[in-house]
């Protein structure tokens, strides 16, 4: 890839990012800073953590607002329900642990106590995806989208970078429902900026194009942008859509992509079953059936390794998106 630059994901272009050498920043830091933003402006916000203050970056909040910080220890199921109780008496509780423990271990607590009561508990699911790296399969959560989006009343956000995580964290406080925010461990490319729009439930078109649409979430938005640039060099205009909110899904934007592009590639750092790809397909088959290809982890557990080598090995880098684009375009042409 050349040192091509592309407009940052703002709609209104305010910055350009270097796709070959992007600025890298941790999404978990966005969560930590978002909580600091909230600490100042919303006295109802309290933060709980299950012995992971440092690695979820809620330590920023803990230092500044110790009276509104609750250490729960290694007891995620208790934490989820304590948060529900706090919400029931008017607090806006944010809790943080790894996604593996938030969405998987505490799924019953989310379902019965948090979501059934529709309490505004905000769940920070750290260490999402294969990009967690060396910790290996147990800590690489890749099932959260499927679990959370199947539960009524839940909101599910998978921000693409530092800024979007920070904005999603702040925006979640204004939503009256329970919200899950998934973020990662390692530094990832920054593709938005402080001014980029973020509206819960509203997808952002990062790059215009009409030959196919690449619909991505999380770190895969960057990979989609890289793939789109490579496709452009071959004369193919790929639209890139950043679906940061998996639930409620921006159905209109997905329908528009199907209608106007006639072919879709989805890209996510998640299991292929029940994630973004499935959500997009549910919309497309109902409203405007077009070929869809899925870039995702194919029904297998992760393993230890470095972020980049794992993403390559598990088939979720930009070359994988490129290949999926070729497949979907040939299906589109075959009509």
């Amino acid at each position: 890839m050349s040192a091509a630059t592309t407009p940052a994901a703002t709609g209104a272009v305010t910055a350009r990012i270097d796709l070959a050498k992007p600025e890298l920043k941790r999404t978990r830091e966005g969560f930590g800073h978002g909580l600091l933003d909230l600490g100042e402006k919303n006295a109802k916000v309290v933060v709980l953590v299950g012995d992971l203050s440092g690695s979820t970056n809620v330590s920023f909040f803990a230092q500044k607002y110790p009276d509104r910080f609750i250490q729960v220890g290694i007891a995620e199921q208790n934490m989820m329900c304590v948060a529900a109780g706090l919400a029931a008496v008017g607090k806006i509780p944010y809790l943080a642990t790894y996604g593996a423990f938030a969405a998987c271990r505490s799924a019953d607590q989310i379902r019965v106590t948090v979501a059934y009561s529709d309490l505004p508990v905000k769940i920070g699911g750290a260490h999402g995806g294969i990009s967690v790296g060396p910790d290996g399969a147990t800590h690489q959560a890749m099932e959260e989208i499927a679990i959370i989006r199947s539960i009524p009343n839940m909101r599910m956000i998978v921000p693409c970078d530092y800024w979007e995580t920070r904005k999603a964290t702040v925006a979640a406080a204004d939503d009256p429902h329970p919200v899950y925010i998934r973020f990662g461990r390692e530094p990832v490319p920054v593709v938005t900026n402080a001014e980029s729009p973020f509206v819960l439930g509203k997808a952002n078109v990062v790059r215009p194009g009409g030959d196919l649409a690449i619909i991505a979430c999380g770190v895969m938005v960057f990979e989609a942008m890289v793939a789109a640039e490579a496709l452009a060099a071959r004369g193919i205009d790929a639209r890139v859509v950043n679906i940061h909110t998996l639930k409620p899904l921006d159905v209109a934007e997905i329908e528009r992509a199907a209608r106007e592009c006639g072919a879709i590639v989805t890209a996510e750092e998640h299991q292929i079953h029940g994630g973004l790809g499935g959500a997009v397909a549910e919309v497309v088959v109902r409203s405007h059936p077009v070929p869809v290809e899925f870039v995702a982890v194919h029904d297998r557990f992760g393993r230890s390794g470095k972020q980049e080598e794992l993403m390559t090995a598990f088939g979720i880098k930009s070359p994988d998106i490129l290949r999926a684009a070729e497949r979907v375009l040939s299906k589109k042409r075959a009509g």
Binding site: V46, G73, C81, V82, A84, G85, V89, V112, S117, D118
Partner: protein, 300 residues
């Protein structure tokens, strides 16, 4: 007004009404749990008619005490207590577990006004109550929080996560109540998965443990008072009870944990409780507006 502070005689009468409600609504629905609701009837009545500061006419009253049944399956007693206390008309009890009614099989916040948080998956309620107690303390709210648990429920690991949490944060505004009827759906608790010595376990978790006869309303009143006086740690009432209490053929028999009486069995039970199915159904049907349900001695 909110704290009714009924005396022992009034409480005994109300508890009898609650038992009649439970049997009648189960006879009507032909679905639901009998044993646990009947074992909770006496201490539950003390909670709603003596101990707690609640006002069913003002559900969002910030000063209200909070109550939460972690054992969501005892809805017959929960709904009876709510209706008798004035949260909704007694008549609604006749639609227990029906599609038309608002009384779900397990308590639902968005179906039944007055339910603070839905419950039904065992082991979660003490954690919820911890959050309520801690949040209230953060706000300087002097209210108390009550959490009713089951004895079989003590087998859930999350109970002990919450027990640790409450003691760590010294939640003395939190009062647990354990319906220690020694039975669960598969048999005797000590046969299914032993929890003894239960009082020692809670003491070891740094709780103030108060053991009471859960059917002796005066003892339960005293137990709640002792809990109120205890500062610096949470309290739990180990309420020793009998499953199916008040109905001879149900008492101490685990097979009544999850089943309703047939209409014939309900007639027998209600005769033991001094009424009949038709008379008691008539009482329930006749109470169509919320308000503390009337009692013979004018306690309402």
């Amino acid at each position: 007004m909110p704290r009714l502070k009924h005396d022992v005689e009034q409480l005994k009468e109300r508890a009898l009404f609650v038992r009649r409600d439970i049997v009648a609504l189960l006879a009507r629905s032909q679905t639901g749990h009998s044993g646990g609701p009947l074992s909770c009837a006496d201490f539950g009545t003390v909670l709603f008619f003596h101990e707690m500061d609640v006002d069913p006419a003002r559900l969002d009253d910030p000063a209200r005490d909070l109550w939460h049944f972690s054992i969501g399956h005892v809805t017959p007693v929960i709904y009876s207590l709510m209706a008798e206390r004035g949260y909704f008309p007694l008549r609604d009890l006749l639609q227990f577990r029906s599609f038309e009614g608002h009384l779900q099989g397990h308590p639902s916040k968005h179906d039944t006004p007055g339910i603070e948080v839905s419950s039904g998956s065992l082991g979660q309620g003490l954690s919820v109550s911890c959050g309520m107690a801690l949040g209230s303390r953060m706000d300087g709210n002097p209210r108390r929080v009550y959490c009713v648990m089951g004895d079989g429920e003590q087998q859930e690991g999350q109970i002990w996560e919450a027990a640790m949490f409450a003691a760590h944060y010294k939640l003395d505004n939190l009062c647990g109540i354990i319906d220690y009827n020694r039975k669960q759906i598969d048999g005797d608790v000590e046969d299914v998965m032993g929890i003894a010595p239960l009082a020692d376990k809670w003491r070891a978790f740094n709780w103030n443990v108060i053991e009471v006869d859960g059917h002796d309303v005066a003892a339960v009143i005293a137990g709640f008072e002792a809990a109120r006086r205890t500062k610096g740690k949470p309290s739990v009432l180990l309420a020793h009870t009998v499953m199916g209490k008040g109905v001879s053929f149900m008492e101490d028999d685990y097979r009544w944990h999850g089943n309703p009486p047939s209409v014939e069995q309900a007639e027998t039970a209600l005769a033991e409780l001094g009424t009949s199915l038709s008379d008691w159904t008539q009482r329930l049907q006749g109470h169509a507006a919320p308000g503390v349900a009337p009692s013979a001695n004018g306690a309402g």
